[in-house]
Amino acid sequence: MPESSDNLVIAGNDFTDEASVLDVLDHVLNAGVVIRGSLVISLAGVDLVYVGLDVILTSIETAMRYLHIQPVRARISLPKSEKPSD
């Protein structure tokens, strides 16, 4: 389990709690090399931890269905002003 005091959490790379899962999703969906033409999740730099991740995951799943029809040409673009989730 991540170590924590009252308001400082040292999560390290223990990905067992829900907040850590959000960290992971934020990293894998929002950081890394993008190949033009591949499936792109474009959020204009918005931190995914503060966006409704369910919305994003659902959007990706929808886009992945299009991969079945037309690989590597799906593109998702979400608005800059997604409401933060709590």
Binding site: N7, D23, S38, Y50
Partner: protein
């Protein structure tokens, strides 16, 4: 069959692949010059292809974490799905110089993230616009100072530091050597956090925030 790309690594590193990646598919490498790209087949049409995306993303991360313990890697954003190996080779050939230089620069490093969140300043509820702005400014200064405490705590090991604003505070990324992670995390535990603030330190992650030099 389409390919899911995980990451780039230097071909000089001898990587022992995890048995399976996303969808339980075996990993393999596609090599182009001094670059190595880790991929697995990616099923879009069968039951395997209907793996919930959340589970697939977590499996993708587990694979990256395994590779990260062995080598410096530059991850692909999930899900990067390519039509076939030819499309990947075309990309690798076109960008070989860029990513070889990036991997050489980042050799042996990982990224630790520090997310600092502060409650809105109390003056935000007051009527005066000036007071509101002063409160915002004070909050921002306090965020910067807390981030600076982490940076100072790890100054022995931090090679580069980046931070950016988020909806609730600051997100900082520290680049450090793989073998220095435990020392940094231990030092981070000693940082004093203001009451009602929240700080989360996570990693090691692949050094994706440092792919670009500036």
């Amino acid at each position: 069959m389409p390919l899911l790309a995980y990451c780039l690594a230097e071909a000089r590193d001898k990587i022992s692949f995890p048995h399976a990646g996303v969808q339980g598919m075996p990993l393999r490498n596609v090599r182009s010059g001094n670059l190595e790209c880790l991929v697995s087949d990616f099923e879009t049409s069968s039951a395997a292809g209907r793996t919930p995306i959340r589970d697939a993303a977590l499996e993708f991360n587990r694979t990256l974490q395994d590779l990260l313990t062995q080598s410096t890697i530059v991850p692909f954003r999930f899900p990067t799905v390519l039509a076939d190996e030819n499309e990947l080779l075309e990309f690798l050939t076109e960008h070989a110089g860029e990513y070889e230089a990036t991997l050489a620069r980042l050799r042996g490093t990982v990224q630790i993230d520090i997310r600092v969140e502060a409650p809105d300043s109390e003056s935000s509820t007051q009527a005066s616009g000036t007071e509101y702005l002063r409160g915002r400014e004070a909050r921002y200064d306090a965020l910067q100072e807390t981030a600076a405490q982490f940076r100072r705590a790890g100054k022995e090991w931090v090679r580069q530091w980046r931070d950016r604003d988020t909806a609730r505070g600051l997100r900082c990324s520290a680049l450090l050597g793989r073998e220095q992670v435990n020392a940094f995390l231990a030092a981070a535990k000693e940082v004093r956090i203001p009451p009602r603030w929240n700080v989360r330190v996570s990693g090691p992650w692949p050094p994706a925030e440092f792919m670009k030099e500036n």
